[in-house]
């Protein structure tokens, strides 16, 4: 059984990652470095980092708010909302991009208003932001909601009987208790934002120097047979993934300590 599991994991996880790393290193450090001399590569990476940062802040806040509403309030349609917030996990990102095009793109529902406002969404930065926010929305929400359910309301009630105001209760009791769940959700959000491909490709069009992200850069580089460039970018993203894994592991450990 163990051997089987190891073989399976080796086949789908270790082998491809190893091959990619080897390939990237084969080209030599100098070639890798040279790949980043290309402004398109640098701009792609920076764009991806900016998108990830926006997702981190926006969905961090939205995730806490939505989790509080879903867990602590009873209202008509709560169940439906609870299912809907997981939509981004179930829907193919390509479809997401397409759906955004239908709303914001040429001939889309909101196009007349966007034109008046002088705002360009599709094939532009705002479109990438929307797509990234959509695909990363559930992660913080889910992690925070899970912790909220586990936490119950005892500590908050204790704070209230001791004279704490709603804001004091949130800041001094609820928020500190959420910190590991929040951290975990944020790391997942970051990982998803860096790795997103389909949605940003469809709504953004991967225009070099404009809407080309790290992942769409890799795609374009492969298309143009610039393998060294593709591997270097992939290696950077893979390194980020390893960091994320380490961060998640650290959070899990801290969490266990507090029990």
């Amino acid at each position: 059984m163990l051997a089987l599991v190891l073989l399976y994991l080796g086949l789908i996880l270790a082998l491809p990652l190893g091959a990619m790393t080897l390939r990237a290193l084969e080209a030599g450090p100098r070639a890798l470095w040279a790949a980043f001399a290309d402004p398109a590569a640098r701009e792609g990476l920076i764009l991806t980092l900016v998108l990830a940062a926006i997702a981190l802040v926006a969905n961090g806040l939205a995730g806490i708010g939505a989790a509080l509403v879903l867990v602590r309030h009873r209202f008509l349609g709560r169940r439906l909302l609870d299912v809907l917030v997981d939509l981004p996990l179930a829907v193919s990102p390509v479809m997401t991009g397409l759906a955004f095009l239908l709303v914001f793109g040429r001939g889309g529902w909101l196009e007349p208003w966007l034109e008046v406002a002088g705002l360009k969404v599709s094939f532009a930065f705002p479109g990438l932001v929307l797509a990234t926010l959509f695909v990363t929305f559930p992660f913080t929400l889910r992690e925070v909601a899970y912790v909220l359910i586990e936490l119950g309301t005892d500590e908050e009630e204790a704070a209230v009987t001791l004279g704490a105001s709603p804001w004091q209760t949130f800041r001094l009791v609820t928020l500190p208790n959420l910190r590991y769940g929040l951290g975990y959700g944020l790391v997942l959000t970051l990982a998803r934002a860096l790795g997103e491909f389909g949605a940003v490709l469809v709504i953004g069009g991967a225009i070099s120097g404009h809407t080309q992200t790290a992942t769409t850069f890799i795609y374009n580089a492969i298309e143009e047979r610039q393998e060294a460039a593709a591997y270097s970018m992939a290696l950077v993203l893979a390194a980020a993934s390893v960091l994320f894994l380490l961060a998640l592991e650290w959070i899990k450990r801290q969490r266990r300590k507090e029990r």
Partner: protein, 357 residues
């Protein structure tokens, strides 16, 4: 500070799932008293406590503190200390920070916080543990921290919800004595909820027995033991045999056992409640019951017997009791009822207590 609760009602859920948790409850707790709400789980006792604290809203009825209506007051401004069953300590704060919390949110100076924390750590026997975190404490220590935290802002009223339910038996015993001593020292009006009668009787000045959202009896422990007001109290307090029967010729037959029922009119259907310790068994080869089992429970022995043509009956004796001589599984015994309580069904006829000797 005295507490008066009048005509409190509380329902949970709606439609077919509706559940009446508190059903027209009125009660009074005198200033400085230590009172127990005693009842089985689901009887509504915790809900009453939470309504007094302001953590739950009553559907109707009112709560008065020292004669002043408190219903409109938010939980945070009621000046009530609350101790939760599972401690509810702030797990990311040290013991000292937990205790200081109430003073901190009320804007008291750091000096005052430090002074009060030191005072309470001392009072609670927690000296030296101020820097620890809740996860590093034993159950008994955690509960004392919870108590210290509730007492720190000097509340007028202290409410404890099943305070010793989550610790093991020996620690529970300790905490009980300790709560009693603490109350004698601090004298804050206190109510604690429990389903453990021993706990209620050994700690409280007054016990309020609650069942199905109603107050069955509110009295001193001795009064409740000697004069249970209702059938429920008689069944619930102390271990008892409970039989249904019909009075005939001043007796209620239960198989071959005749429960004395002087003064009950013939044909009255009754519930007879016979406490274990109000029964005497002795070996008698012509007796009308047969011993099926004896169980040693610490310093007492519980004897199980079957009445001829009737149900099982239990009694309990001190381990060294002469009555136990010769009693063993299989032997025949005589059963004597020294005290019986009879509750006529339907409630038209008042309850009767028959005492022999």
């Amino acid at each position: 500070m005295s507490i008066r609760v009048s005509h409190l009602c509380k329902r949970f859920g709606s439609g077919a799932n509706q559940f009446v948790a508190v059903d027209d409850v009125s009660l009074e707790v005198g200033g400085g008293e230590l009172v127990a709400f005693l009842g089985p789980s689901g009887s509504g006792k915790s809900t009453i406590l939470r309504i007094i604290a302001g953590l739950e809203q009553a559907d109707s009825g009112s709560v008065h503190f020292a004669g002043r209506q408190a219903d409109h007051l938010h939980a945070r401004s009621r000046g009530v200390g609350f101790v939760f069953q599972h401690y509810a300590l702030f797990r990311h704060m040290s013991v000292a920070e937990n205790i200081a919390f109430g003073l901190r949110v009320q804007g008291k100076s750091k000096d005052e916080q430090r002074r009060r924390v030191a005072e309470l750590l001392d009072l609670m026997g927690l000296a030296g543990l101020g820097e620890r975190y809740p996860a590093q404490l034993s159950g008994g220590q955690r509960q004392r921290v919870a108590l210290a935290r509730a007492l720190a802002p000097e509340p007028q009223v202290l409410l404890l919800d099943e305070p010793f339910g989550a610790v093991d038996a020996r620690v529970r015993e300790e905490l009980r004595h300790w709560l009693r001593r603490l109350h004698d020292e601090v004298h804050v009006t206190s109510i604690f909820v429990t389903h453990d009668q021993e706990e209620a009787f050994s700690v409280a000045d007054k016990v309020i027995v609650i069942n199905r959202g109603r107050v069955e009896q509110a009295a001193s422990p001795a009064e409740i033991l000697d004069h249970p007001a209702t059938e429920f109290v008689a069944r619930f307090i102390g271990e008892a045999n409970v039989y249904e029967g019909v009075a005939r010729d001043g007796q209620v037959p239960v198989g071959a056992l005749r429960v004395p029922a002087d003064g009950l009119p013939d044909g009255t259907p009754v519930t007879a409640v016979l406490r274990f310790y109000d029964l005497k068994f002795w070996r008698d080869d012509r007796g009308f019951a047969r011993v099926t089992r004896t169980m040693t429970l610490g310093d007492r022995v519980k004897v199980e017997a079957v009445i001829d043509d009737g149900p099982v009956i239990y009694s309990q004796f001190p381990r060294r009791s002469s009555l136990l001589a010769g009693i063993e599984p299989g032997c025949r015994i005589h059963v004597e009822v020294t005290l019986a309580r009879l509750y006529p069904q339907g409630g038209a006829t008042p309850a009767v207590t028959v005492q022999l000797q």
